[in-house]
Structures are given as C-alpha cells and as structure tokens.
C-alpha cells in the first residue's frame, strides 16, 4: 500500500492566513510513503518543514525529488530537519541543466546571504542530477521527463505494484495552443500522466486569469481537467493554488469548473494535510 499526503499545495509564494487555512498556505510538498517504509518527498516548498518535524527517529533515509528550483519548490529545504542530521541519509534529486550541476545551483540558495548555512557544510547529502529517464527508489519506479514550464522542469511518474501517480505541479501544457489539446503524443507531460491512478496537477488559474499569464508556466483549472481527461487518469488533484485565492473562492471556482465539465473521474482541490490511498478512489482524510 502507498499513501500520498499533501503538506503544501499553494503555488508561487506561501499564503498563510485565516482565509487560506483549509486549502493551506504552504508551498509545494507531497509525501509518498510505501508500506515498507520507503519515503519519497515531492518538492521542498515550505510544507516540508512541518513534514520534517513529524518524521521521527525511525526514518533512516529520505528521498526528495525536486521538480525544479523555483523558490516555492525549495524554500523549505533549509528548514527540513533531516537535512541537518547526518544519521539520516538524505538524497536530493532534481533537474540537471546545461551549465551547472544541481549541487551548485542549490548552493545559490543554501549559502549566505540568502541562508546562514552553506550547502557544503552538509557533506552527508547525496545530490543527484536527473535527466530524462527512469530510476528506482526502493519499491518505486520513477520516470522523469522535462515538461512545459520556464527553465528546466521535471515531471515525475511514480509507479509501484500498488498503482501509479504523476506529479506535474508546475505545468503549462496548453502553451501556444489555439484550440483543444493536440494528440497525447504532442502534449507536454502526457507520457508521464497517461493512465495513472492519481494525477497531481497545476490548476493555478481561472481561465480569465490564465489569459493574462500565458507563458508563466501554469494551467487554468479547466486546462488541468482537460489534460487529465486526455491522459485518462483515475483521479485528479488540483494543485499549486493561486496565492490570491481564498478557501471560499477555491471552493466556488472548483465547484463551477466541475459543474461545467462532464468528467468520468473524481477531482478534488488539493488541501494541506489531505491523505490519499494511491490505489483506491478518493479516501480522503485530513489529519
């Protein structure tokens, strides 16, 4: 069995406050945990701080998969407790670039004046440059591919015997289109998402908002629904919420989108602390 817990669902910048408490104000962070104890963490937004404080001493290895290095996906890294504990084997996996390696690019943030600790002071870290391909972490087979978002950005497909999920937190597959999506083969991210049991996908904007943010690397909720339909996913979690959207607005927007779109699969707005069973329909709980 594999469960998926959302620790941060907000996009762009943390948005704490009473008006965002239900969907949550922390930026991107998702826990994927297999029943054998293998722990993957998808992105290190501000949500990873709280996740790190709950892990307990039994966890000996953590694998953090970074989709890309925009601040809302790495800002929590420096505050992730296991990073500072040499007894925990922490592996950071993130997109390679054509110039510097991942270590060097992360060190731009994890060094003064932006952060008081140097990355080089954490020599027990394992940092892996990830390209396009597949690799295994415990029972998980991870497939990575570059997707449509400014700068080198990875999407991940994570498969295990209990099911498969895709994680596309920052993704603009509709960029440049003048109509519906092209065939799957010509759609960014399709190969990762096709047929998965669970898709976690960028749904930052309303269609109206998207019109003035084309090329910023994100999707409208409608586009996320259409992408999920094209990929024939089992379930969709809308993710990377606009920091300007309150809980009440998100409820209304998601309700309106679903009312206008006939879908064969369940959809939910990603809420901080929601826990999902990868293999079954939305067995949503919040802890």
């Amino acid at each position: 069995m594999t469960y998926v817990k959302l620790w941060g669902t907000r996009g762009s910048v943390a948005a704490p406050g009473a008006e965002t408490a239900r969907y949550g104000g922390n930026t991107a962070c998702v826990e994927v945990r297999h029943s054998d104890g293998t722990l993957l963490i998808l992105d290190a937004g501000t949500g990873i701080r709280r996740l790190g404080s709950t892990l307990g001493s039994s966890v000996r290895r953590v694998d953090v998969l970074l989709s890309h290095l925009h601040m809302d996906h790495i800002q929590g890294l420096g505050f992730f407790e296991p990073l500072h504990n040499p007894d925990v084997e922490v592996h950071l996996w993130g997109p390679m670039s054509t110039t510097q390696n991942l270590w060097s690019r992360l060190a731009r943030y994890l060094s003064p004046p932006l952060f008081p600790v140097y990355l080089r002071d954490l020599p027990w870290l394992h940092v892996h440059d990830v390209g396009v391909g597949e690799f295994e972490i415990g029972p998980f087979r991870v497939t990575s591919a570059l997707v449509c978002h400014p700068g080198a950005t990875l999407g991940f497909r994570i498969a295990t015997t209990g099911g498969a999920m895709a994680y596309l937190p920052d993704h603009e597959p509709a960029l440049g289109l003048r109509g519906p999506f092209l065939a799957g083969a010509w759609t960014s991210g399709f190969g990762l998402a096709a047929g998965v049991d669970l898709l976690i996908h960028d749904g930052q904007y309303t269609d109206q908002e998207y019109a003035s943010c084309v090329g910023w690397g994100h999707s409208s909720m409608r586009q996320a629904l259409e992408f999920a339909r094209l990929a024939e996913v089992g379930r969709l979690v809308l993710f990377h919420h606009n920091p300007a959207h309150t809980d009440q607005q998100l409820d209304q927007l998601i309700h309106m989108e679903l009312a206008q779109t006939r879908l064969r699969f369940p959809v939910m707005g990603g809420m901080e602390n929601a826990t999902l069973d990868l293999a079954s329909s939305f067995s949503l709980s919040r802890t």
């Binding site: 390679m96 670039s97 390209g131 396009v132 449509c148 799957g184 083969a185 010509w186 190969g191």
Partner: protein, 131 residues
Amino acid sequence: MMSPKCIEVVLTRLLAGYLATPILVVDPAGTLVFFNEPAEMLLGKRFDETGEMPASAWSTIFSPTDSHGAPLPADELPLMAALAERRPAHRAFWIRGMDGKQRYIEVMVTPLIGLEDRNLGALASVWETQP
C-alpha cells in the same frame, strides 16, 4: 499510438505553428514529424493529409535534384547531414512538391540537441528561391 514527443520537440512544433517561415521538424531517425502551414505550400500537401513520413519516404517523394538535375541521395540532403553529423547544414536544390510543381528551395537545418547531449532531431527552415 504515437510515442510521446519530448518537450523540446513539442515546443518547436508550437513555435513553428506561429511562424510564417516554412518549417519542417524531423525526429532523430529522420522521420518528418511535423511541417507548418507555410511549408505545406512548398511541399504541396497538408500535414493533416500526410501525417508523419519516414525518411525513406520523404527523401524520395519530393524527387530532390541538384541544380544540374542530378538526383540527390538522402545522405546529401541537409536534414540528413545535420542529423548524421550533429551540425548545422545548408543547401539549395530542386524538389517536386506533392502538387506536382517544381520548386527551387534553400534549406537551413539546425540539429536539436537536448540535455545530456540527447539527439532530439532537427529543425529545417525552407525558402523558395531562384536558382
């Protein structure tokens, strides 16, 4: 079902869709995976009608010949040279479009090389010109 195209090729196609310059996109095997509307005018058929074309098909279907009328073998076409040698390539030559018309064209090809030195194919821009 077609295999998913990598993002670099997807974005190249989208860019080509906005350009008035005739553009052809081939994959690493030389398969013509897309050409835009301005290129349709030169090739004499719509992409919708042809779909993808393997190199063995497109390298002969357009009957490429040099300025003296001698047939050009596939490996002397700039697209194939760019793919094989991973370098920009340029050449002017005659083709016969699928509408039966002879055209003299100049072709400039840029190989598409991605992260990890992955060979992703090539992008050809094409002009009709005078011999």
